[in-house]
Symmetry: C2
Subunit: 219 residues, 2 copies
């Protein structure tokens, strides 16, 4: 049986996994809201970001509380400190999903996404979901192998991001400046979302192996 | 006299202040490189970002080393954990300055910045410099009052960011899509740079007061 202290550490992991579920749902709904010009869905993403912020505030408070009460050392201390960093990244991912939803809301009832861009945005949303799903599994299972797998998905995201710019800058782009600005920002939000997911996975690798040498593979 | 342990903590603060100097110089030079289409200056910002990354890696290593060796508790532990978070934000600010420089390099010998945008970008660069200068003083002096002052500068940055979009979306914008995309991304980089500076200052407030209640004022 685990003592109360280690149960608190486990609870921390559970809360981080919960954050991954929330920010996964957020980016999934934000993508749909964007592609379907669904105002209600966009609003729900925007209002639900508070929940992510609240869980992160709880994680943060319990971490500083744990540090004050338990005086953790060695492995436990490392776990706690890295959990704080993971929470920071996940909180930011919630913000980025919210940013996507805000663009959908801003342009409603029009769509921010011209037809030529739809499939790329859909794919970016799918990869974002796949990344955060894997990140969640990594945190729960501490599986280093699957953490390293995220690299391929992140590369795919970068390729889609470049494709987006190619479409925007092509001679046959006929939508003018405003949609180009929207798409530029949206593309950046997805790309940053992916970067943060990879960073969280990097932290899982660090926790398990105690080494940052795999960084190069994940960047 | 301070013992070796507390000297290590002081050294951590010095290293963070050094990071603020480097990322200040980076955004200052990146702004000039952008406005003057100065390729050599842009290259120097890009190549010098490694130095920021290296100092952050040293800070990170010494923090995990301190935690393992000294088993810090209470205030010291909080200081160390928050220093890690500050370092993360400062490292990111270096990346953002590098991103600005990369746009300058990409468009050289042309300028990425149309004449109508110059003064706004110049102001954004000046505010970014002012913010990081104040952040550096905050870290060094642990002055809560000046940390709270950053809010006004951050508001000014947000206003300039909105002005940028207004210019881009005005009917008389005659530069087409590509410069609009560049300016959109550049604006985002400055705005994020400012956000990170504010976050670091928030952490100084937290270290001094032990309270996050001032968050509302700083966001």
């Amino acid at each position: 049986m685990r003592d109360a202290y280690h149960e608190e550490l486990d609870a921390l992991t559970d809360r981080l996994v919960e954050m991954t579920r929330l920010v996964r749902s957020a980016i999934s709904r934000a993508t749909t809201a964007l592609l379907d010009s669904d105002l209600q869905l966009a609003e729900s993403v925007i209002s639900h970001d508070e929940e992510v912020d609240r869980i992160f505030a709880e994680i943060e408070a319990s971490i500083f509380d744990l540090m004050a009460r338990q005086q953790p050392v060695a492995v436990d201390l490392r776990t706690i400190v890295v959990a704080l960093r993971m929470g920071t990244d996940l909180e930011r991912m919630g913000d980025l999903a919210e940013h996507v939803a805000k663009v959908a809301r801003l342009r409603h009832p029009d769509s921010a996404i011209p037809p030529e861009i739809r499939s790329t945005i859909l794919e970016m949303g799918q990869i974002a979901e796949r990344l955060i799903t894997k990140t969640g599994s990594c945190i729960a299972s501490r599986d280093v192998e699957s953490a390293l797998e995220l690299e391929a998905d992140d590369d795919a995201m970068d390729r889609l991001h470049r494709r987006l710019f190619k479409i925007l800058m092509a001679d046959d782009w006929k939508y003018g400046v405003e949609p180009a600005i929207d798409v530029t920002l949206i593309g950046r939000y997805y790309e940053r979302y992916a970067d943060h997911a990879v960073r969280v996975a990097q932290d899982v690798v660090y926790l398990v192996t105690g080494s940052r040498t795999q960084d190069a593979d994940l960047r």
